[in-house]
């Protein structure tokens, strides 16, 4: 027994040191991010949106699906943001719809980035022919307009006529959203592989996986994070497109379906701005926070964009 627990301890020890190294990379990325004013603003915005969505999971003033009120009421003390053209409470819908929207955005961001990193690094690391084949494959997905693929896959998923929840939406968005990142990672890996520190690791006899994880992944960490933000933005925007086109699941409550119903009701013509603007603004805020975070990352990866006030003044004079 004692021996076993000893072994376990050893394993745990090893694991914890490994994860420590990894968290320190993430921590340093985050740390530098938060020193930048733009990304700090973005981070705070994102945190508040996430808090908003967590509140929405547990609480909403009214049932967002129930038709409880008079239709198309402007904002008042009972309905903070008025009611929809069907008599639902807009604020409750906004609150309840936050979590699924964020979930889809970040799931698409995570899966899309994962595929992009795997494909991109693999392409940068293999033989020339495999690399070329993967390059062509990436290009096919880049060239075909995303909306067309969304429509095509969407109509076919609609043809299946089964309630799969958000799964089809996520699948479609990941399929259409991974290629941009894969292209970036491929070209970056190709340039990193040629550098001396990778060559020395190869000569020392480090395994390929270890080189990929320890050398390459760490070197491109800011770009991976940035790609995650970009793909998440694509996920949020893509969700609204899918719902707007009506090829998603329009019965569920999220910010995309809110827009779908508002537009379907022609809210923009009947002047019910309190219905169409809140979800649009929330989506914009989400995108805005991610763009701001990316701005900070850009300045991290490209130091010449950073502000060096004193130096600049010297130069001007």
């Amino acid at each position: 027994m004692e021996e076993k627990s000893n072994l376990n301890e050893k394993n745990i020890y090893n694991k914890s040191t490994k994860s420590k190294v990894r968290t320190s990379v993430i921590k340093s990325t985050l740390g530098t991010l938060l020193k930048n004013n733009k990304s700090k603003t973005g981070f705070i915005m994102l945190l508040s949106i996430i808090t908003f969505s967590i509140i929405g999971i547990f609480y909403s003033p009214y049932n967002p699906n129930a038709y409880l009120f008079k239709i198309a009421q402007p904002p008042n003390s009972v309905n903070l943001l008025g009611t929809t053209g069907y008599g639902q409470d807009v604020f409750s819908e906004l609150l309840r719809g936050a979590a699924p929207t964020l979930m889809i955005a970040f799931t698409v961001g995570l899966l899309g980035t994962l595929i992009a990193v795997l494909v991109g690094i693999f392409a940068g690391f293999t033989s020339k022919t495999t690399n070329a084949v993967i390059n062509i494959f990436i290009n096919i997905f880049l060239v075909i307009p995303g909306v067309l693929l969304i429509m095509l896959f969407g109509t076919y998923f609609m043809g299946i006529r089964q309630n799969l929840g958000y799964l089809p939406t996520i699948i479609i968005l990941v399929i259409t959203g991974w290629a941009f990142g894969a292209r970036t990672f491929r070209s970056i890996t190709l340039s990193i592989v040629k550098r001396d520190f990778v060559l020395s690791s190869i000569l020392i006899g480090e395994s390929k996986i270890s080189i990929i994880v320890r050398q390459i992944m760490r070197a491109i960490m800011p770009i991976i994070v940035s790609n995650f933000f970009f793909t998440s933005m694509y996920g949020a925007m893509g969700l609204t497109f899918i719902e707007y086109l009506g090829v998603g699941n329009i019965q569920q409550v999220n910010w995309g379906t809110m827009l779908y119903w508002a537009i379907n009701y022609e809210a923009y013509l009947t002047g019910t701005w309190w219905w169409i603007l809140p979800p649009s603004i929330m989506i914009s805020l989400l995108m805005f926070s991610l763009i701001l975070l990316n701005f900070g990352l850009d300045e991290m990866a490209n130091p010449s964009l950073r502000v060096f006030k004193k130096k600049k003044r010297d130069k001007n004079e």
Partner: protein, 334 residues
């Protein structure tokens, strides 16, 4: 100038392979559909009043949708054969119009809208970005950055609805839909051209506003390192004037955006498809949305193919042009 033959050959082969890939996606998708789409399409045509269709046509549909018992590769060659004869099937929602006729009507409008709006957006965006980058860390820079970020973040179709609402519905300044007025004659005359521009204004404005952000931020982030680089210091010391230095930095900073231009053709086409349906602009986008709403598979497939081909040609043209402009790109092909 040395003609970059290797580069062109590489691009042509890439073009061809991607084209074949897109065709194959188009071939494969209906075959993954559950049920019997040919039967669905056939009964829809009958319901739409297609009295002329016979069971022979059902047979043909079954071949098109891969329901024939023939092996897959034979179906594939049949599909290719149909394709190269321009036979894209018959639309359901616009029965009995063949898909190719609809496309021939719609494609010119879409091309016009895409090409004009992304060119204008590229031009304005780069100049705004240049202005922001050269005045960086000032109020102007921040204002331009925030504006373009906000535009990039706002849901495109909501923006389109708001613009339509303000300018066309309440403002009555612009038409609500269509590509040209009823009173003008089609052809190369001044009233027709004016009418076309007048009708294209709002959709183009929306697309320009949406796609502006990428160019602005890209240019800003390119021109700042460019302004700090050695060749700019050198030119400064040589005594070049300020505006000359800005234009030198600009010319170098625009190269990455040029690559982006080729790739953005596909992206912009996505936006255009959405905008067209909102502004009732008779391009492929409007037909695409209608086709989806009525599950008109032949039309969906035909539009998919057409748009992919158009985007590919656009990409190809920009790539080739770019190969002549930037010697470093040419060498990448060697």
């Amino acid at each position: 100038m040395r003609i970059p033959i290797k580069y062109i050959i590489k691009k042509i082969s890439l073009f061809f392979v991607v084209f074949m890939g897109a065709i194959t996606v188009n071939f494969a998708l209906p075959r993954m559909m559950p049920g019997n789409p040919a039967q669905v399409v056939y009964s829809q045509i009958l319901r739409a009043g297609g009295s002329g269709v016979s069971p022979v046509y059902l047979n043909q549909l079954e071949v098109e949708y891969g329901l024939s018992k023939a092996p897959l590769y034979i179906q594939y060659f049949q599909y290719l054969d149909n394709l190269f004869h321009g036979n894209l099937g018959v639309s359901i929602s616009y029965f009995p119009e063949p898909v190719s006729t609809i496309l021939a009507q719609a494609l010119p409008w879409t091309l016009f809208l895409v090409i004009s709006s992304i060119t204008i957006s590229f031009f304005i965006g780069n100049h705004l970005g240049r202005y922001a980058g050269t005045n960086r860390n000032t109020g102007k820079d921040l204002a331009i950055d925030l504006f373009s970020m906000f535009m990039a973040a706002f849901p495109a179709f909501v923006l389109a609805f708001i613009i339509l609402d303000i300018f066309a519905v309440y403002g009555n300044l612009f038409p609500i839909g269509g590509a040209y007025g009823i009173s003008v004659n089609e052809g190369l005359n001044v009233p027709f051209i004016l009418s076309v521009l007048y009708h294209a204004f709002l959709p183009a404005l929306t697309i320009i506003l949406i796609s502006l952000g990428g160019w602005v931020l890209g240019m800003r982030n390119n021109i700042i390192p460019s302004l700090n680089s050695d060749f700019i210091n050198y030119s400064e010391n040589l005594g070049f004037k300020k505006y000359q230095i800005k234009s030198i930095a600009y010319r170098n900073a625009i190269l990455p955006n040029m690559t982006g231009f080729a790739m953005s053709i596909g992206l912009s086409t996505s936006g255009v498809i959405i905008e067209e349906s909102i502004f009732s602009y008779p391009g492929v986008g409007m037909y695409m949305i209608n086709a989806i709403n009525s599950l008109d598979y032949p039309l969906i497939q035909g539009i998919f193919l057409m748009v992919v081909i158009a985007v590919l040609i656009g990409n190809f043209a920009v790539d080739i042009l770019y190969g002549f402009l930037d010697p470093r790109i040419r060498q990448e092909g060697d």
